[in-house]
């Protein structure tokens, strides 16, 4: 595809993004080079970042960067180096965070990125304060069963890999915004190399890593559009069941890439989510460290202690919210009545 055909490449937010945020690279490999490309924008000092993971390039979140970072959020978007196993990816991602000196993070994951975020969360729960999932799944079995040539991805030529990926893309009647978005995403996929594409497909179709019993964590928001097509509805709904305490933020329409096609709404959900976990640069520019720490502890407890009583859980979302929003008294005991 010719770049001049892609309307969003010449749109204002994209141009701003390109002029504000330089792409950076880190190699974390020793013998083999493992190159992670990423964008890092927003205040660096004492700000816990939201890290975006997607199977595509790191630029696809440009609308989030451009509209939210100036408000005081720190966002990092990664285009990960090729890995051929989920565990390998998790270790690689951890090393990436180490290199950037990030002890704690919030995660945003879309499609395969969402699955990887969940894998990382389960392997290193203490580092993830909260997680936003978009258009994703919590089990790769479906993909594993439905891919006929999973073992061969690494030796398939680039054009075939692209064809496999693009066959899943939305088509048919779409509104203008969604068409532009799909064009943009196709253009982004075009820029990925054979190894990157093969790695993404391999990870997507490998045997799942997640603990099948799910989690009662409530530091999760799931943002989904009702008209998504690339991830079957059944898989998305399994995700809601997998995290019964997650907040489900539905968007009426917008297709598979709502973070571009309905960025306004997604950005609102991101702000609401982060505010509930102690990040609110707009109303509370110097968010208190202690608030964040409390939070981390809460979340870790929730995470490990999956046997916690459900009833208590139901009450909790409000409570956590309240304690985070206001660093005041946390006396909301009447909820136990």
């Amino acid at each position: 595809m010719n770049s001049s055909d892609v309307a969003l490449l010449s749109s204002e937010p994209y141009i701003l993004f390109k002029s504000w945020v330089p792409q950076q690279k880190i190699s974390i490999g020793t013998v083999n080079e493992k190159l992670w490309k990423y964008y890092d924008f927003g205040p660096k000092k004492d700000t816990i970042p939201l890290v975006f993971i997607s199977p595509g390039t790191a630029e696809i979140f440009y609308k989030q960067f451009v509209s939210l970072c100036p408000k005081g959020y720190r966002f990092i978007s990664v285009q990960f180096s090729p890995y051929d196993s989920l565990l390998g990816w998790c270790k690689g991602f951890e090393r990436f965070l180490d290199r950037l000196g990030l002890e704690k993070i919030h995660l945003f994951g879309t499609s395969l990125g969402g699955y990887l975020a969940q894998c990382f969360y389960q392997t290193r729960p203490s580092r993830v304060i909260s997680m936003i999932l978009n258009n994703t799944f919590c089990d790769t079995q479906y993909y594993h069963d439905n891919s006929s040539c999973a073992a061969m991805f690494s030796i398939l030529p680039e054009f075939m890999l692209k064809k496999i990926i693009l066959s899943n893309f939305p088509s048919g009647k779409l509104d203008k915004e969604m068409c532009d978005t799909v064009d943009f995403m196709v253009y982004q996929i075009e820029s990925l190399q054979q190894q990157e594409l093969a790695s993404r497909l391999t990870l997507n179709c490998s045997i799942g890593l997640l603990n099948p019993s799910g989690g009662l964590m409530e530091n999760i928001t799931i943002i989904d559009s009702l008209d998504t097509v690339s991830v079957p509805e059944k898989l998305r709904e399994e995700c809601y069941k997998y995290y019964p305490n997650a907040k489900i933020a539905l968007i009426k329409e917008g297709g598979d890439f709502v973070y571009i096609s309905r960025s306004d709404e997604v950005n609102i959900h991101i702000q609401v989510h982060l505010r509930n976990f102690g990040l609110d640069p707009v109303n509370n520019p110097k968010s208190d460290e202690t608030t964040n720490n409390n939070n981390i502890n809460n979340n870790n407890n929730n995470n490990n202690n999956t046997t916690q009583i459900k009833k208590e859980k139901l009450n909790k979302p409000l409570k956590t919210k309240d304690t985070n929003q206001f660093n005041k008294s946390s006396i909301f005991e009447d909820e136990h009545e």
Binding site: L226, L250, D264, N283
Partner: protein, 203 residues
């Protein structure tokens, strides 16, 4: 071809600070009430699934900050709303008088396609404190009538009076808007007046 489309209704609650917007939402969704007042910062939402005429509907209820200084989410927040709930405190006259400006604010920000027929619902809250009441039911009802027959409910989030009924009406009115404007047209079909000569078919 009649695929059952999932229905999502976006409902926005507006009103002065302290009238009980958060409490009403909590009472409806979580069946809980707290006497402690706590200002809402910005906005937050809860979702609730309910049945409206045999259809499962997901209601996304947005609770907003009554205080201007906490309103930081911007215009996009109002976009796509299906119903707006205006809340006042029957014991505080000012909160009733401000309904006009909340309504205007919503219409300006949300810019609905048909502002005259956009579904609003008015809730007069805190009726459990009956002896302190200053806004009469009659006064409120006549205001609602003057604005195009807005449904009016007197509620108490504390005692759970009328909350369920009010939200059921909210959902019903919101779904009407949803059906009227964006009812999904199956691909391949064209919007045309139905051909009438099909009368020969037997029944």
């Amino acid at each position: 071809m009649a695929t059952k489309k999932k229905v999502l209704l976006k409902v926005i609650i507006l009103g002065d600070t302290g009238v009980g917007k958060t409490s009403l939402m909590n009472q409806y969704v979580n069946k809980k009430f707290s006497n402690q007042y706590k200002a809402t910062i910005g906005a937050d939402f809860l979702t609730k699934e309910l049945m409206v005429d045999d259809r499962v509907v997901t209601m996304q209820i947005w609770d907003t900050a009554g205080q201007e200084r906490f309103q930081s989410l911007g215009v996009a927040f109002y976009r796509g709303a299906d119903c707006c709930v205006l809340v006042y405190d029957v014991n505080v006259a000012k909160t009733f008088e401000n309904l006009d400006s909340w309504r205007d604010e919503f219409l300006i920000q949300a810019g609905p396609r048909d502002p005259d027929n956009f579904p609003f619902v008015v809730l007069g809250n805190k009726i459990d404190m009956e002896n302190q009441r200053v806004v009469s039911q009659k006064r409120a009802a006549s205001w609602c009538q003057s604005k195009g027959n807005i449904p009016y409910f007197e509620t108490s989030a504390k005692e759970a009076i009328n909350v369920e009924q009010a939200f059921q009406t909210i959902a019903r009115n919101a779904i009407k808007l949803d059906e009227g404007l964006v009812f999904p047209i199956p691909p391949g079909f064209q919007v045309q007046p139905e051909p009438t000569p099909a009368k020969t078919t037997c029944c």
